[in-house]
Amino acid sequence: MFDIVHIVLTLLLFLVLSILNMGIIIKVKAFFGGRCGAPVLQKMYDLIKLIQKSIKLSTTTSWIFFAGPLLALIVPFFAFFFLPFASIPPIISFEGDFLLFVYLFGLLRFFTTSSALDTSSSFEGMGTARELTFSFLIEPILFVCLIILAKGTSSLTLFGFFGYHILDAWQDYSTIFGIVVVCFLVILLVENSRIPFDDPATHLELTMIHEAMVLDHSGPLLAAILLGGAMKFTVYAVLIVDLVIPFKTGILFYDTLIAIAGVLGVGVIVGIIESVMARLQLISIKKVLLGTLIVSLFGIILITR
Amino acid sequence: MILLVLCIFVISLSIGIILIAKSNNLRAYTVFAVALFHFGLSIYLLSSHVLDIDALSKLILITLSILYLGITFHGIAYFSRCQFTNNNKIVTFSLIIFIVFATLMIIANDLISMWIFLETASLACTPLIYYNENKASIEATWKYLFLCSIGIVLALIGMLFISYSAIIVGASDTSLSFSNILLNDKTFNQTWLKISFVFMFIGFATKTGLFPLHSWKADAYSVEPGIFGALMAGGVTSISWLALMRLIQIMNAAGESTLVHSVLIFFGIISILFASISMFNQLDIKKILAYSSIEHMGIIALGLGVGGIGIFGALFHIFNNALLKGGIFIAVGNIRRAYGQKTTEFIRGAIHKIPISGTLFLVAFLAIIGTPPFGSFFSLFAIIQGSIAHSLIISLLFLLGLMLVFMGMGKTIFNASKGIPQTIETGYKDTIGMYLSPLAFLCIVLMMGLSMPDIFKKLLMDAVLVLEANL
């Protein structure tokens, strides 16, 4: 009984954190811009507003158009089931769960891109092409990180990666894990289409990546996508926090507090990055990602030495 | 004795009929009757011990007899089609002469008479090439005749040398009967023996058509009618292989088998490789069969050269090759008649235009390149095994050659047999007389592959024993 309550509470916390994080990024950016900025809960208001609207569909769309937003909502939520948060063990954990974790996001990508193509808009086609290319490029980086983590912690579950052994692993492989953290940060930025890889706030369709794909989603569908995006961000943030804050106090309350602070901290960092950096040229994104891949390969060489 | 009289009677009767008869049909029937008689005779010779002939001769005899029977059966239908265009007096006469001398050559028991009969039999084929009486056929005839004559001269020189090699060691018996040559293995001077081997090998190999002695083949096979091509590619080559195998026997007896083997392997490999690259972009379906013939001569040479199970394969392959070449040449002849052309520029979709001959053509092709479960596959496989037991490099070259052959030959054959036929109307239709013999040949080869009769297997094994080098 306690377990179910536990789970529900964690999931609720996760939802709240997701919405908060988006607000925090906006707040940080506003701070750097010298503005006051929207309230931290602005995103929630947006979602509520969107949910009340009706769903306007283009005549070219089909049921695939719904699959994208639906999965965008479900997959990040489900992915959180695999992650340890603070000292709370994950709901599902088995050998090789990290592969399912990665490939579920693949499934998500399949359907978001498909639903983008469902509109027959050429902007969305453009966005799809970019999204596919960049996600294809970060795939190997992610796997290199996973190899390093698996090797470093000698386990094959996400819980194992970020759970009990992580502290020892940090002591043994601090440099390499540093690389992993950087890689995860890059992955987080790319996957969640943040600056410098993509600008979610741009107004020009031609330069968008992820945003271009959701041009035709309206009302509750857009709300699903936005909430899903926020959850996805938080999932990655939790990954980073689990990695960066390996030590546990052993008391659930403090651990949770630290973790929450960590997740919000990731939001702050991303906000800072978005404020101080400009968006990269499309062409140079490939180079940056390839560079990251090479850096991560160094990590592999170091760990298997 | 009675047999001899009977033979002479049959031969003279048939020649008489051919000379007197007024119609092409009657001559064709006569030749077929001779073939039937010959078939019966071969069966009799195989089963009895009237003539003391060895298994090698028996094998070639039965091969030739089956082939000849099929060809002459096809001849009945064939000649009745061109009733009024060509007179077949000379051709049928040559056919009779050929089979008579070929048989004599097979049962000959000394080198000189073997040589004479072989040359006569091969010269008897010249009218067959000339049958169409046009410019191309005369040139091909000329080349065949001339190159064969060069071969004849060289073989004669070889025999003179072998007798000299007997003289020089002061042997008492200098006659060139096989029993003498094979038994008294030390009565020859080795140097002269080797030189004579070279001359005789080149001489006889000119008739088999190993590269680079092959030059007449493509011309002769491409100009003559398919039915005669069948006889030459199946029959003449087989009997000249018999001559070559006698040579091998002689050299084995003299303890020079290593030399023979290396020579055979060398010629085998270069024949296969040359034939394989010659087949590319070859539009003439008869020429491609000529090159295929060169290739198979190479395969047989290789099989005999590598020894072991390769000899078995080679002997079996002689049999298969004779029948398959016979079958495919007849089928090609039918196709050529149906289209009036012999290049794939015009021949397309043969299996639609003349379904039975076209299909036979395709299947015979598949059998020729060694598709299981035809007998040719087993012989080929045995030769591959032999060559692998001998040397890996050689067998790899061999396999490479086989692949190239398929690439080159397949293109032409598939183009010819598949696709959409052009509407050339020649009025030709398949009749049972036109396709029965290739069908029968294919069936025999297939049967040999799936379940070889024990009697035939024993024959092959005995023939292998004859050829095996007792080092």
Partner: protein, 213 residues
């Protein structure tokens, strides 16, 4: 007949070879080959003991080699309107040079071969090789069919040297050498037939090089 006489006559045969190599008219070459054949027949006849069978053989060979075949050839050239030119594929001087080389080669080879003592002092074997090779060279170096027949006749003369002089005891083989001449006759027929078939078309009579890839 002693060895030196035989050698002198055989040298004459070699000289005739050279002469044919150098001659640029077909009729001259035909006549030279005929002469060579007669000389060889005489040589064989006088080097053996006198027998009736030998005489008959001698008469047959002289008539075939010396008269029938050459006359047939000459007739064929006229019948088929064949130009008297040799049409060399390789020039006259190079041919002669190659032929000379082949003679040296023949002598070189023959030294290495084991021979009966009686044959060692004569030059039968080298002359055989030289004549054989000369015939081959003529066939290779000249384009026309008729010159190739001449070359073939030379080869055949070479074989005759071998069969009559070296292996005299195996007379049967020597006799069947005559059969080769029959072939030569067939060739000539072929040339005539070719003439018949090509009279109506323009083309190089007697070259027979149209069948190729």
């Amino acid at each position: 007949m002693n060895a030196s006489t035989i050698n002198t006559i055989l040298l004459l045969v070699v000289l005739i070879n050279m002469f044919i190599m150098g001659s640029n008219r077909i009729i001259t070459a035909i006549k030279a080959v005929a002469l060579q054949g007669i000389i060889l027949a005489l040589l064989a006849f006088f080097s053996e003991e006198f027998t009736t069978k030998g005489t008959i053989l001698f008469i047959i060979i002289v008539s075939i080699k010396g008269f029938i075949i050459p006359l047939l050839l000459i007739h064929a050239t006229k019948f088929a309107n064949i130009n008297q030119e040799m049409k060399p594929l390789i020039g006259y001087m190079p041919t002669m040079f190659i032929d000379a080389l082949s003679v040296f080669l023949s002598f070189f080879i023959s030294q290495k071969l084991p021979l009966l003592p009686s044959h060692q002092e004569t030059i039968i074997v080298p002359v055989f090789f030289a004549t054989l090779m000369s015939g081959m060279i003529l066939i290779i170096a000249r384009q026309k069919a008729i010159t190739q027949v001449i070359g073939y006749l030379m080869m055949e003369n070479g074989v005759y040297i071998l069969s009559s002089m070296l292996t005299g005891s195996v007379t049967f083989l020597a006799e069947i050498g005559v059969l080769l001449d029959v072939l030569a006759g067939v060739f000539i027929m072929g040339i005539m037939l070719n003439h018949i078939s090509t009279t109506f078309e323009k083309g190089d009579v007697g070259k027979l090089t149209s069948l190729r890839e």
